[in-house]
């Protein structure tokens, strides 16, 4: 074992490696050097979503949820990326999905994140739309947190019609549906 580790302190630096140059401006003491600043940053850019996401986002502006079908397995992906992640082939057939589904997984968030997060605590939910193969992310409201459970039925709450846009923000949140729960085992592989 190297001698430097014998006393279990952090090993020393090689001599001279971190010696700092002396300040060349008289009166500028090095002992109050600024070490850290916080700088706001922003960027404006043009985004081209691609063919399948364009169809999907335009659908949202019309209060429709458009998935696309794996040409081999028939799995419906939403949001679509234009190809099947399983077989690698393009998805060509569009499938309109209902704005209702099943809560496949969730957690209760107690800290605030981002500008679009609701007041804490809130339920971050994965929603498996009826007919879809993978779940969408959303927020579940209009239910006491202790009553939330995997397998419960939910429905989208949209923004007002004059607020609809080609954006995920057209769906405000999800709310419970008064229907029987789906068995959790059936959701495995579709979270």
């Amino acid at each position: 074992m190297p001698p430097a580790d014998a006393d279990r302190t952090v090993t020393p630096f090689p001599v001279g490696l971190w010696e700092q140059p002396q300040p060349s401006v008289p009166g500028e003491a090095a002992d109050d050097a600024v070490q850290r600043i916080r700088v706001p940053a922003s960027i404006t850019y043009r985004y081209t979503p691609g063919a399948a996401p364009t169809r999907f986002l335009r659908g949202l502006a019309g209060k429709r949820i458009l998935g696309e079908k794996d040409p081999v397995n028939g799995d419906v992906y939403v949001p679509p990326r234009g190809m099947s992640p399983i077989v690698g082939l393009p998805t060509t057939e569009q499938v309109e999905l209902p704005d209702r589904g099943t809560l496949s997984a969730f957690c209760v968030v107690h800290i605030g994140f981002g500008v679009n997060a609701p007041p804490t605590p809130f339920v971050s939910a994965l929603v498996l739309l009826d007919g879809a193969a993978v779940s969408l992310y959303g927020t579940l409201l209009e239910i006491p947190i202790e009553e939330v459970r995997i397998g419960m039925r939910v429905q989208a709450v949209w923004v007002d019609d004059d607020q609809l846009e080609p954006s995920f923000e057209s769906i405000r949140y999800w709310k419970p549906l008064d229907e029987p729960d789906v068995a959790a085992e059936l959701l495995k592989g579709h979270m």
Binding site: W18, P79, F106, V108, I111, A117, I150, S167, G189
Partner: protein, 390 residues
Amino acid sequence: MSGNRVAVVGVGQTKYAAVRGDVSLPGLLREAAYRALADAHLTMDDIDAIVVGKAPDFFEGVMMPEGYLAEALGAVGKPLFRVHTAGSVGGSTAIVAASHIQSGVHERVLTIGWEMQSCSEAMWALSFPLPFQQQLVAGAGGYFAPFIREYMRRSGAPDDIGILVALKDRLNALKNPYAHLHEPDITYDSVKESFMLWEPIRYSETCPSSDGAIALVLAGESAAEASAASSGVPPAWIHGTSMRSEPAMASGRDQVSPQASRDCAADVFSQAGITNPRQEIDVVEMYVPFSWYEPMWLESLGFADEGVGWKMTESGATQMTGDLPVNCSGGVLSTNPIGASGMIRFGEAAMQVRGQAGDHQIDGVRRALGHAYGGAAQFFAMWVVGSDKP
């Protein structure tokens, strides 16, 4: 494992901290790199190539730092290569470095993983709202918590298994002078009473945000033996390396125990000639950023049957005194410079084999597993290192 033999002959780490205001980003790498070279009894002149890795650039807001790292490291003219595989990158980077020697192209390769999280806000970087993308307004913990909840549902594990993992790892960290979090007063109750962040994950069951770097010196057979003869520290021979990935969103995917994780473990154990990992692996450094991932990975990696990994945690089997110590270093739960975290697991596994781990050393380690995962639990990297030449 095919190709030329490779061993770890040098390990160097920085002191990990929330803010390392005393060094620049390249200075952080330099600190780890020169400690690893000193440990290997080599100098930068002896190094043929450098392989570096860190998490995606937007995590620290510094774009493509690899462009100036050769100069900053005092390695101008040497090939320098960067690897990108999200949180698993520290592991993948070490594996890519090893492949440079396995292939016969190089004899001595320096590999470095790092993150200077204080440069930016990784939590924010993971949660910024883009109208054209799905919005997870909950950070990294908000992504993983639903799958932890699903594991708890399937396994029926007691609610406090995560508390036991966090307590163990944070107490182990007290034995590791490099660890970020040193919390000597931590108790079961203090973890239990810590603020709930993403139910069921509490504050004390979550990894910190760290600045830090780790470097490893890898060498081919003759170079490794020469280095070991000079330094007096035995090499940690690489017995197997494996990487696997899978899509984040795919029908049939199981985020609790991803196929890529199971395939990666099976591959690395097969290369190392291991048929019973629980008996044949002496110590594990596992990527556990949220406490419950210990039992989840114990099952996924084949150390426990499906649904009962939590019993190993509960029985104390994964403590330093147990039969399969996990994260003697304190793990990711005590130190998380994201891009370094995987390589710290790989490096700590090598330190255990080389008898270098000091107060958190397990006696007589012959074979150790280093494990990393990243992305949406979709990228995996693992290696087995051992005291015997493979």
